[in-house]
């Protein structure tokens, strides 16, 4: 399985600011995904990060709020823009080396005050 790291591991941010989360994989992977896990909730897919093209967003998530970059097959970033307290969540990246099977990063715990 792939080894996935995320930076930062946690952050406390002020309302109205933006935070960029990095996801690094130790091997080239085709599929990378970004999830949100709100307190006490399950995982919700934000978007699929496509290498060389724009990310594909799920219903309820938009590029202006969650811009994503995928410059190569081992790296992606997710930015949470113009944050509000409702954005306080754990943000996870995952990679899919095979059909549907995914491996997850440790997550970034974001608190917005």
């Amino acid at each position: 399985s792939a080894v996935i790291s995320q930076k930062p591991s946690r952050d406390i941010c002020q309302r109205g600011t933006s935070l960029t989360i990095q996801c690094q994989v130790d091997s080239q992977v085709t599929m990378m995904f970004w999830y949100r896990q709100q307190p006490g909730q399950s995982l919700t897919l934000i978007a699929t990060a496509n290498q060389g093209s724009e990310a594909t967003y799920e219903s309820g998530f938009v590029i202006d709020k969650f811009p994503i970059s995928r410059p190569n097959l081992t790296f992606s970033t997710l930015t949470v823009s113009n944050m509000s307290p409702e954005d306080s969540s754990i943000y996870l990246c995952s990679v899919g080396p095979g059909a549907y099977e995914q491996y997850f990063g440790p997550g970034t715990r974001l608190t917005v005050t």
Binding site: F33, S42, L43, Y100, Y103
Partner: protein, 110 residues
């Protein structure tokens, strides 16, 4: 839309007792189903995939198409099994995406 349902938010058992964590899915075709586990202060990790028909840490899960279920079972629970368990299904024709159930917290008491 495809759905994954885990009806129990919390399941509490004593050590040595059998465990069954329920998962139901909504998809009329052949689903790709997984169980993920998250131990305290650890990342989410893959536990089982239905196509492998494997037993990991004593856990097994059988796909029942008639009941559209993929329940996770272990005959004798251990304290170290205490964790959050998520059932997940591949979303058909959606390029590898997964949909997750709400999760069941398993607490194994000594």
């Amino acid at each position: 839309a495809q759905r994954v349902t885990q009806p129990e938010k919390l399941l509490s058992v004593f050590k040595g007792a059998p465990v069954e964590l329920k998962c139901n899915y909504s998809y009329s075709g052949s689903p790709e189903l997984f169980w993920y586990v998250q131990y305290s202060r650890q990342r989410l990790q893959l536990l089982l995939r239905h196509i492998s028909r494997e037993s990991i840490k004593g856990f097994t899960a059988d796909l029942n198409k008639g009941e559209t279920s993929f329940h996770l079972k272990k005959p004798f629970a251990q304290e170290e099994d205490s964790a959050m368990y998520y059932c997940a299904s591949g979303i058909h024709n959606q390029g590898g995406k997964l949909i997750f159930g709400q999760g069941t917290e398993l607490s194994v008491k000594p």
